[in-house]
Amino acid sequence: MEDRTVELRIPARTELIALTRLVVSTLALTRRELDEERVDDLKLAVSEAVTNAIESYGTDVEGKAVTVFWTEQSDKLEVRIQDVGKGFDLSRLAAHPPVTDSARLQFERGLGIPLIRSLVDEALFEPSEDGTSVCLSMYCGSLSYTGDPAAL
């Protein structure tokens, strides 16, 4: 599998999140099985996860990086987002109140993880004291290239 992984490592700077989106959507678009809507879904989910990864460093971003791994498996695309930030307790994330005009408006934050969960087929969060790894999967049957496989 090693040789099927594309790895992008960026300094923890928010202006580089757009680059991770570009790379992931470019790679996803070369796959016949993902239509544009699913590519957009994956792109947004990755963007949210990279945002969280950068924010895991707080203001202490000097020398810190976030790594995005893109791996193609026989039946799915997998994107792993990794930071070495402070981690978090998944079970303690605030639950959002049911959607009603008044209560819902309290939540300007905390939309990222719920979004991620509903956008991809599988989202695995692995926070630890040494950082967090988030693994996002999109199932797509057997994979094949849209490009012509002719090689020199």
Binding site: T14, L105, L115
Partner: protein, 114 residues
Amino acid sequence: MELALEEREIGDWAVLAVRGEVDVYTAPRLRERLIEIISRGARRVVVDLEGVDFLDSTGLGVLVGALKRLRSNDGELDLVCTQPRIRKVFEITGLTKVFSIHESVEEATSGSGE
């Protein structure tokens, strides 16, 4: 990496057209502009998202924040959004129930704003 903001007035509506990508990097500029518009006294604001290619949860948060600010002043914030990819983000998060989302700036500004 780009965000373009363009403001105009239609009747008593302040219309802010947003173009480009709204994410954690660009959202602060959108927030600042909305705060500026509101603190200038605007009560009825339309944010036109037709030119937006990408909107993340930070962008949603900025819009929710502006809506709260306006409502607490008896104001209103409406959106224009027909692109499925952007509309979907409001749908998933349940925010279609919170915002009035219109098909066009004309439709948004011809309503009563309530």
